[in-house]
Structure formats: structure tokens, C-alpha cells
């Protein structure tokens, strides 16, 4: 368990990746928070100092990278909070608390399939950076925007990335078949799969993981107010496999018991 800390940090840069007219993708670079350690898959809560009382909550972001220069958060503008975060400039102050939650498993010798949907690619930069044998990593990346919207260069240099761009809803079944095929191939090599992306994408991978019997971890995305386990807004239902028998089959906080869960430990059935 890595103890989180609350820190006030200065924005170093806030770099847009998308083209004009495309949905906004940015890399927010903050000064180094001085953490003793962190795990890829963990996240931070971020709240700019300028928000006053109008926006009540901080916003959760996967940690993309921590370098000696700083903390990098790769994010997409999706609502009121991220629209304002996109306007942060060098020198602005933010409060963050983290690193929060669970991280992805690292099994150096095992073939590991990274399944990223859209902005769900964010935690895999740090995962690839930190993995002791990146030659065992491969990624299937599904996205709607052109790949220029995503900072791909640094990732493509380390690992093998296969792209799939969804242009129309008719492309979805093709992508689903690709995911299934890659997961089956991974299973045949006794591999590990790690997934991050929107909930419909994760729910599909959760179903395939249980059907195929592939060891799979999912990083879930939920609406969160606090990030520390208090608001109970982000719960996920556990399965009967959950290690703590008293909590098996019951809702647990995604922020503290997750965001990274083993597929067999949770129940993502619609309405569960």
C-alpha cells in the first residue's frame, strides 16, 4: 500500500495534441510531486486553485508518467471540469492528491496484451516505461480520432502498437472481433491482458476474459467526488471470487479497491 499525499503543484505545460476541430486531447505537465513510489494504473485527483466554489469536485486522472521533470497526465476534454483544465497555463497552481488506488500487475516474463480504448491509453505510457521487459508487451489501441490526437511516438518506440480507428458505428463489430482474437491468442500463450477505456469497452473485455479464461485486469472509470473512499459514488459490484468474503457480491469503492480490478473479482453485468 502506497500512502497518498496531498500536494500543491505548479503547471509546467499543457500541450494540445488534437487538430483544430477535433475533440481536445492534452498532456498536462506538472512539477514532480516527490512521491516515494507509484504504480502504473494508479490515479490522482486534481483541482486547480482557480476553481473557487463553483466546481465542487476535483477530477480523477490516470497517471500517465512520472519523470524527474514532473508528473504527466494525458486527458481528453469531456465536460465542464476538463474544459477548464484545458485552459491551465504554465505557472498556474493545482492541488493534487495521490497516488490513489491499485496499479496494474507487472509480470516481466509473461506476454502482456494492453487493450486501450480512446483516452484509456493514458496509464499505459507509464506501464510501458516501467516494464522491465517491454518486448513482451503488445497493444491494441481503438480510437475514434486520428492517431495524431494521441502522443504515440514515445509508446511506439518501446512496444508494438496495433491501431484500430472507429469511423462509424459499423466498425464496432470488427473491433470486437479483433479484441476477441487478440485475447484468445494471448490466452494460448498463457498471457496477461490489461485494459483501460470507456465502460462499454471494458464490459465487453470483461465478458471475453471470463469466457476465454484469460487472466485480465480492468481499470475502471467511474464518476468520483473524493477519490479516497468516502463519497461512495464510484462503487463497483464484486463477484463471489472477491478475496474478502464479507464483501463478496457487494459494492466496493472503485477509488480504493480499484480502479484496477481482476476481471473475475467483479461483476460488470449491466445493472449489477
Amino acid at each position: 500500500m502506497i500512502s497518498p499525499a496531498r500536494t500543491d503543484l505548479t503547471v509546467a505545460d499543457n500541450v494540445p495534441f488534437s487538430q483544430p476541430g477535433e475533440p481536445g486531447f492534452f498532456a498536462l505537465m506538472l512539477e514532480n510531486p516527490g512521491w516515494v513510489s507509484w504504480l502504473p494504473g494508479q490515479f490522482v485527483m486534481l483541482r486547480p486553485h482557480g476553481w473557487g466554489s463553483e466546481l465542487t469536485w476535483a477530477r480523477p486522472f490516470s497517471i500517465s508518467r512520472v519523470t524527474p521533470q514532473g508528473l504527466v497526465l494525458f486527458y481528453q476534454v469531456v465536460g465542464r471540469g476538463t474544459s477548464r483544465i484545458a485552459k491551465l497555463v504554465s505557472g498556474d497552481k493545482v492541488t493534487i492528491w495521490g497516488p490513489l488506488g491499485t496499479g496494474f500487475a507487472v509480470e516481466p516474463a509473461r506476454p502482456t496484451l494492453l487493450l486501450a480504448g480512446g483516452i484509456g491509453i493514458a496509464p499505459f505510457y507509464g506501464y510501458a516505461d516501467r516494464h522491465p521487459s517491454p518486448e513482451h508487451l503488445s497493444m491494441l489501441f481503438g480510437h475514434r480520432q486520428i492517431s495524431d490526437c494521441y502522443p504515440m511516438d514515445s509508446l511506439s518506440q518501446i512496444i508494438d502498437v496495433e491501431h484500430f480507428r472507429e469511423r462509424t458505428p459499423a466498425d464496432i463489430p470488427v473491433f470486437q472481433d479483433m479484441i476477441r482474437a487478440r485475447m484468445k491468442a494471448c490466452r494460448s500463450k498463457d498471457g496477461l491482458a490489461l485494459a483501460c477505456g470507456p465502460m462499454p469497452f471494458l464490459r465487453m473485455i470483461w465478458e471475453y476474459a471470463l469466457e476465454i479464461g484469460l487472466r485480465t485486469q480492468l481499470s475502471l472509470e467511474q464518476r468520483m467526488a473524493c477519490g479516497v473512499g468516502a463519497c461512495l459514488g464510484c462503487v463497483t459490484r464484486t463477484s463471489m471470487h472477491w478475496a474478502d468474503a464479507e464483501k463478496a457480491g457487494l459494492p466496493v469503492q472503485t477509488c480504493t479497491s480499484g480502479p484496477v480490478f481482476w476481471a473475475e473479482d467483479i461483476d460488470l453485468k449491466a445493472g449489477a
Partner: protein, 311 residues
């Protein structure tokens, strides 16, 4: 400056006073069971810790989405998810520094008898300094706010809890979702409540116009945060003039200034709620800032400020 507050209603001789280092407590449902916030400050420095609402048996709570952000506030319809009172006593209470900071157990039940049973179980624990009775939750079908909207039911629940609470003070938490909060306040006082807390959340809703759906699965929920501070101040003002027992104020407190405003309108102590979501260190910061603000405003004793509103 001495920030200590002693909550002890005159004439309630069989009840232990609730002694707080300072008037700033945490509000139920916004501070987990306390341990969640230990990385962000020393929780023993707080005035008191009110834990997430406890029921006799574990409750799953409502379906998602349970929370929605609204201007200067938020809506929640969590539905009192909790592990049940036994799990709290076994796993959570021993992890809290209850010898150094009062731990107040907030309780919820769907009938007066169960409220009494919960009070009996919890008041027997050395680590529980007081019991706070939630007759004001807007997000559960049975009981909840229904008890808090009917003076007869409010008195019945208060009486049931008092009979089982022994020497531990009983705080009754009131709902603002009533026509006249003083009617319920007096009913609880007459039934033996040692203190009152107000307010619980204000019922509200938020919708997504494009998708034509409510933002909460429960459709309606409870509004909290700075948006409800004027409602909280109004209720504390009215209630503190209507009863003789101490009143604990809450609703939208996010600064030391807010704390003093609540004391000015009549509160003996306060609880910080949603501000802990905006910043997990909010309550610690407020405790730190309070003495300095009192000095700047020339307040030598909190007793001098309490209810001193010039009208």
C-alpha cells in the same frame, strides 16, 4: 486562544458532556469511518468525527449514478450503503484514535425499535462518544426523512434511542425539507434529545437535457455544498432560538469564516461535509485557520460570538 467547546444541556444530568477540542467536526457520510483521511492530516486534532451512517445490517445502497456535481454543490443518493454496525465495531472503531478525539456514531433504521437497538449496541462501546440519529435521510424508501417530517415520529424515534443510549449524549439530526423546522426541533427536544444537528441535505434533482434522463438513478437526491449554506444558516438561526439544547450547525461549510457565521447565528459546534470531497485536507485547514480568524475579528471566546447576531 481556547477553542474548546463543551456540549452539555442544562438539566440533562445523567448524560456525559460532549467535550470538543474545537468546534469543528466532520459530517456523516463525507468522512468515511475516519481512517480514509489519515493520510491528509492528524484526525485527532479535529473537534469530533461523525462516521458514515450505520444500520443494524449491511446495506448495499442505491444503484449508480449516485452522485452528480451541481453549481457550488453536489447531489447524492447513496442510500446509506454501509457494512452494518457489527462490522464497524469490529473493524473500523479500533482503528480510530477515539481516546484522543470524540467519535460519534450516526445511525439509521427503518423503525423506532431498530433505532433503539442500534443506540444500545453503540452506546455500550467505550470508543463511541455520542450517537447521532439520522431521521432526515432523503435517499431511502423506509424511514429516513419520513421520521424527520412528522413531529410524532421524530419524538418516538428520539425516545427509543434515549431509552437505550445510557449516559451517551443523543444528537438528533434534522431535515431542512419541512415547512417549519422548529416544530420537529421542539418535538425532539421534548422527547429527550440532548443536542440537535442541522441540516441534512436539501432534496433536489438534476437532469441531462440532451439525453432526457435524470443525473441520478434514484431521480432525486440530497443537495449539499456551498449552495445550501444560506439554508443551513437559516435553519440553525430558527432552531437555536426555539430550543434550549445545543445545536450543531452544518451545510456548505468550507472555511473558518463559515464556521464563525454558524456560531454567530446560534450554533455551539459545526460539521464540515462536502468540503472534504473538494479537498481531503479541508477540515484540518479550517481547524488551523480558526484561531487566527478569531484574533483578527477580535473574538476572545466563542461563547461571546454564539447567537450574537444583531437583528
Amino acid at each position: 486562544m481556547d477553542m474548546e467547546v463543551k456540549l452539555h444541556p442544562a438539566g440533562h444530568d445523567g448524560v456525559r458532556p460532549l467535550s470538543l477540542k474545537n468546534p469543528v467536526m466532520t459530517a456523516s457520510g463525507t468522512f468515511g469511518c475516519g481512517a480514509e483521511f489519515m493520510p491528509y492530516g492528524n484526525i485527532a486534532r479535529l473537534g469530533g468525527i461523525v462516521v458514515k451512517g450505520l444500520s443494524l445490517r449491511a446495506r448495499e445502497g442505491n444503484p449508480l449514478p449516485r452522485i452528480a456535481e451541481t453549481p457550488s454543490g453536489m447531489l447524492n443518493a447513496v442510500g446509506l450503503q454501509n457494512d452494518g454496525v457489527e462490522a464497524f465495531i469490529r473493524h473500523r472503531l479500533p482503528a480510530l484514535p477515539w481516546q484522543d478525539v470524540p467519535v460519534i456514531a450516526n445511525i439509521y433504521a427503518s423503525c423506532a425499535e431498530d433505532f433503539g437497538e442500534l443506540a444500545g449496541i453503540l452506546s455500550a462501546e467505550d470508543g463511541v462518544a455520542a450517537v447521532e440519529v439520522n431521521i432526515s435521510c432523503p435517499n431511502v424508501r423506509e424511514g429516513g426523512v419520513l421520521f424527520g417530517q412528522d413531529p410524532v415520529m421524530a419524538a418516538k424515534v428520539t425516545g427509543a434511542v434515549k431509552r437505550r443510549a445510557g449516559t451517551k449524549p443523543v444528537i438528533v439530526k434534522l431535515s431542512p425539507n419541512v415547512t417549519d423546522i422548529t416544530v420537529i426541533a421542539r418535538a425532539a427536544e421534548d422527547a429527550g434529545a440532548d443536542m440537535l444537528a442541522c441540516i441534512n441535505t436539501v432534496t433536489g434533482m438534476a437532469v441531462d437535457l440532451e439525453r432526457r434522463v435524470p443525473l441520478l438513478a434514484n431521480i432525486v437526491g440530497g443537495l449539499s455544498g456551498p449552495a445550501i449554506k444560506p439554508v443551513g444558516l437559516r435553519c440553525v438561526w430558527q432552531v437555536s432560538r426555539a430550543v434550549k439544547i445545543p445545536v450543531i450547525g452544518m451545510g456548505g461549510i468550507s472555511s473558518a469564516r463559515d464556521v464563525l457565521e454558524y456560531i454567530l447565528v446560534g450554533a455551539h459546534a459545526v460539521q464540515v461535509g462536502t468540503a472534504s470531497f473538494s479537498d481531503p485536507a479541508a477540515t484540518f485547514r479550517i481547524v488551523d485557520e480558526l484561531p487566527g480568524l478569531c484574533r483578527r475579528l477580535g473574538i476572545e471566546r466563542l461563547d461571546d460570538l454564539r447567537g450574537a447576531l444583531k437583528v
